[in-house]
Structures are given as structure tokens and as C-alpha cells.
Symmetry: C2
Subunit: 336 residues, 2 copies
DNA sequence: CTGAAAGCGCTTACAG
DNA sequence: CTGAAAGCGCTTACAG
């Protein structure tokens, strides 16, 4: 394959052993005498031998490749997750094949993954159509959806408790004395946006309140800015806005302070969801709900690799606890 | 490999043709009659055949895999670049094998890349030691360093003109009336930090000035905060600070406003480098220098794939123009 | 422990 | 255009 591709055969010749002996020396449980091993290792070193893992994958049926599908790398939640997940997978001896979502032909992307004989798939953007889910199951390739799920789907998923997190946020805002509370949704077909909205409604209802306004930001920076302008420029302005994720909340805060000339939280409170690194930056100091990204990554890797290593595809759903993170972008409850 | 791994042989049997005919049907320039092709395609469809690209890689010597080595995904410059680079590579028919830098055993990571028979390597974090560079060259695997370089190394690199960008920044600060100008370095052994510092000195010198203070932030958020505290808490405080990248500049701004209670830019000007998305957010509104990430990605992909496709490793260095982006974090020159 | 041999799923000359 | 055959670099029973 390469210019000087040295193979196990070359090493065998130099070490005066069989090619099988070389192979055994380089496979974890291979039975080789100390002497043979030493001879092989030395020959390998002088030749610069490096086992070809593609050939190994071919014969063993194990590529040790995991596909991760991402998008939205402008939303800091995902780069952080991608970094953690890659490290966790590397530590366990797998490599990450990265796929950027290609709007439109998601089908082709999944076909590519399968062609590369990946042993597992993490969907950290978009979800799997039921026909694609079936194809993956047919080939014995486990899939885990990260930070999303499809209610009736047989695909495993890892999420945080978006309903409970949003519910707490509602209670917190009401305790802070807010009376006109609005919501800016993400992508309306996403499970995160839907669950956060549902949990928020629930929290409001438990205190006898309802939503005072609603707009859709589509999880984009620009979409959120437009939503904020629409929602906040009329009369009877909300006194608090729950934005479906932090990434959009920053955009909303920029519009509120820069265009509408309102103070946060004196004139209006803004809260987000995710607790991305920037939420803690002093320029935003955003009150939000923390998604436990490290625990979510752990659960994903565990659920996926259990299936890979047991060679069976099953369905497991993990829902991890979320936690309210109080900072300065929302008025505090009176502590009396 | 998989549960129901259907192979070209299975398709051949069903279509009543040879296995070679199936293979030709699925290889771009393969000569097959229309009739055969149709029969094969139909059989493939009913069986759910998917060519095994691992086997193809094995026999053809072309894995179509490109390794990208990254780190620092908390610095928004890299996620954006990773996304752009992955998309560009996918469009040209390559897949990205992602490697997170593992402090310490960089050697092992590169060995892994080579074992996976990657056709090219992009180093977007760290640089290649000369012995590793030689190993890559020996196997015929081209390498491009992204946003970094080693002066005497034979490895290709793509950077922006850090010297010129920093020089312009110096001129801009001086024109704005600043007289006590300090610098916060990144990692001192990185080419970006060194070049930005050198260009900055040059710009100061051209106006008869010298640096009024210097600290090292190591390109980390916390390191930058510590550097800012040290640099700005004494007497004779600087009236402007050039921070070696935006990521650190945000941290410095937080310390300046949150801890030191100074106004930006009235009391002190802060400028950064990179022009990451957050630099444009109203909470920071950072004056900085834009690295042309899209052009840098294009150059990287072109330089790398040219070598991959011509099967020869050469050395090319691209230095793309940088551009001053004036926002609100530094006092403006008087327009008279 | 060791080696000869089969075989993973393909591509690609080579003859016809 | 088509098929039989060789071979990519390995792993893994199988005998010894």
C-alpha cells in the first residue's frame, strides 16, 4: 500500500520464523516463546514493521471503528462532547470516523458508515429514520442517539432529563417574581426542544401559570436573534425568557442589551439550557441548566461498546439528571 | 463481518454473473454491458449489497482515510475548522479519522494513524517531531501542519500571516493613542505565539516603541486569567494588551471587567487574534485579527490531496493573508 | 510452541 | 464485455 510497506512476511523472513509467528507476536494472546518473540520484535524494529490494521479488520471482522455523526459545531456543547467521546473511545481501543451531517442525504452518510464496516454509530446530530435504523440492525451495527431520541424507535439513546430540568427552571423564574414568562424554542421537531418546552409548561402549570409568549429560534444564532426581536418588541413585554439552549440564549442577550437597550436581569431575565463553557463567562453569566456531558458520554460509550462487544443489538435508554445552575442572568428569588 | 454480510459473491450468484462483473459494476470505470449492470444492480438491491470498502482498501492500497489530529476543542477556532475540513474532505470522497492529541505519547497516535493506512495526515494540534516526520515520509504519507509550522522541517504547512497581522495590530493600538502596551503570549513553543509576538514587536519598533509588559497565558482560559492578574495589578498598568488569541482574550476581558473593575476600552484596550465567532458577540465585541479559516482549510485540503493523488510527498508552505477586524474593545484612532 | 494453509471480500491484469 | 485466477496482509483453526 505504501512505498515501503513492510509486511509480516518480510519480518518473518528476517527473523527466520513463519509469518504466523510474527502475527502471533503482535496479537495480544498469541502463544509464542520468549525467544521467538524477541527475534520477531527485533526484526520488526529494524524493518520498521507496523501491523496493517485494515488487513486485521478484514480477516477478523472487527474494524474497531466507531462512526460519530455531528453538526452544529458552532454550539459549544458539541465540540466538548466530541472531544470527550473521542478520548473515551480511544482509551478503549477504538478509533473515531467522523461524519458531518449533510442536510438532505442522511441516507448516503449512513451507507458510507456501513461500507466502512464501523462497529457502532453515535448519532449526535439528527436522528435515524426507521428504515435506516432497520438497516443498521440488520447488519448488526448498534446505534446510540446522543442528546436526542425518537419516542417509538428501537434505537438506543442517551439524554439528560430535559423535562425535569426545564420544570425546575420554571419554578425558579416564578420564585424570582416573574409574571410574564416567554419561551424561545429550538428546532420544533427535536426531542430536546419539545421536552424542554413540555417540562417548562408543566412547571408553570404547577404554579398556576401559563406561557406569556412563544417564538422559534431553530437552534441558530440568527434565528434566535430574530425570535427575540419579534417576541420582545411589542407591548406587554415578557419579564423573563427561557431560551431552549445556551447557544441561542447568548444571541438573545445580545439583542436585549445591544438593540433593545434593556438591562439583564433588572429589566428582563434570560435563562438558557446546556451550561456550555461560555455560559460561565463573565460577559454572559447565564443562569441555565447543566447537561451532564461527561456522564452522558460515559453512558453512550458504555451502551454502545457493550453491544459491540457482545455482538448483539439491543435497545437501552439512559436519562441522566440535569441540574439548575444559578448565575446572574435572572432575578433571584427573595431569600426570606 | 456483520450478521448478514452480503458479499459480491452472493450478488453474483443471484444475478448469474461472475463475481468480477459485480465488482466492475460497482467500480467507477468498470466495463460492463448495460444488461449485466442492470441485472447486478437489481440483485444487489434485493440482497441489500453494500461494497466493503475495507476490502477495497486492502486490495487497492487506497483507504481514502485522512487522519486529523486535534485538541483544544474549547477554543472555537478549531471546531469551526474541523467542521469545514471534514466537509471538504467528504466532498472529495475521503473520510476523516479523528485523533485527539494525547499529551505525552504523540508517537503512539501517529503510529495508530499509519496502522490504519491513512492516506494523509493533518496536524491541527501539536507538530510532528522530525523522526515521526521521517516515518510518515518513508511510508509515503503526506502530512500538512495546520496553523503551525516548524521552521526547518520538511513538512508542509498552512498558516496565516501572523507576523503581518500582529504588526497591523501594533500600529492600530499606537494610532489609538496607547502608550503602555503589553503582550500575553500563548504557548511559547508554538509558531503562532512566536510569530504574533515577533510581528507585534516589529510594529511597535516601526513607531519607535517597545513592549511595556509581558506575561504567558499558555493558550488556556485559566492561564490567561492568571497572566492578566499578574500583568495588570501592579502600578504603571498597561493601557492596552494584545492577547495572543481570542480564546484567552475573553478570559482577560472577564478579569479586567469583573475583578479589576476597569472599563474596556475606556480604561484599557484589549485585542485578540483569530476572530472566532464569539469575538463578534456583543458581550465581548473584540477587536482582533481574522485568520481566514475557510481559505486555510481549502489550502490544506488542496496541498494534502494533491500529494495523495500524485502519490508523492513534497513540501509546500502556504501563508494566507490576515485582516484586522476593528470592533469595540480597543480605543479608536482619532479620525482627523 | 510452531508452521502450512485456508480464507476475509474485494480489484485487476490476463485470456478469450 | 466477460470470467477464472491471483493476490492485498493479515488471523486462526489444524496438525505436529
Amino acid at each position: 500500500m505504501n512505498k515501503h510497506s513492510v509486511t509480516s512476511g518480510d519480518v518473518a523472513r528476517l527473523a527466520n520464523v513463519s509469518q504466523s509467528a510474527v502475527s502471533r507476536t503482535f496479537s495480544p494472546g498469541g502463544s509464542v516463546s520468549e525467544e521467538t518473540r524477541a527475534r520477531v520484535l527485533e526484526a520488526a524494529k529494524t524493518l520498521g514493521y507496523r501491523p496493517n490494521v485494515i488487513a486485521r479488520a478484514m480477516i477478523s471482522g472487527r474494524s474497531r471503528l466507531i462512526a460519530i455523526m455531528v453538526a452544529y459545531l458552532d454550539n459549544q456543547f458539541y465540540p466538548v462532547v466530541l472531544e470527550q467521546m473521542s478520548r473515551a473511545l480511544q482509551e478503549r481501543g477504538y478509533q473515531v470516523l467522523l461524519f458531518m451531517t449533510d442536510t438532505g442525504n442522511q441516507d448516503q452518510v449512513v451507507q458510507k458508515m456501513l461500507q466502512y464496516q464501523v462497529e457502532g454509530i453515535v448519532m449526535a446530530s439528527a436522528t435515524l429514520s426507521s428504515s435506516l435504523a432497520r438497516e443498521c440492525a440488520d447488519t448488526g451495527t448498534p446505534v446510540v442517539m446522543f442528546n436526542r431520541y425518537v419516542p417509538s424507535s428501537p434505537t438506543s439513546s442517551v439524554t439528560s432529563d430535559n423535562i425535569e430540568g426545564a420544570r425546575q427552571l420554571a419554578h425558579f423564574l416564578i420564585a424570582g417574581g416573574h409574571r410574564r414568562i416567554a419561551f424561545i424554542a429550538g428546532q420544533e421537531d427535536s426531542s430536546t426542544s419539545r421536552d424542554r418546552e413540555a417540562g417548562f409548561y408543566k412547571g408553570l402549570a404547577e404554579r398556576g401559570m401559563t406561557l406569556a409568549g412563544r417564538a422559534v429560534g431553530g437552534y441558530s444564532f440568527e434565528g434566535a436573534a430574530a425570535a427575540a426581536r419579534g417576541l420582545l418588541s411589542g407591548r406587554d413585554r415578557p419579564d423573563a425568557v427561557f431560551v431552549a439552549n445556551d447557544h441561542m440564549a447568548f444571541s438573545v442577550m445580545d439583542v436585549v442589551r445591544g438593540e433593545l437597550r434593556l438591562r439583564i436581569p433588572e429589566d428582563i431575565s434570560i435563562v438558557g439550557y446546556d451550561d456550555v463553557p461560555e455560559a460561565g463567562w463573565a460577559g454572559y453569566n447565564l443562569t441555565t441548566v447543566s447537561q451532564p456531558s461527561a456522564a452522558m458520554v460515559d453512558a453512550t460509550v458504555t451502551i454502545l461498546l457493550d453491544q459491540v462487544e457482545q455482538r448483539e443489538v439491543s435497545r437501552r435508554a439512559a436519562v441522566l439528571p440535569a441540574r439548575l445552575v444559578v448565575r446572574g442572568s435572572a432575578r433571584m428569588p427573595k431569600s426570606d
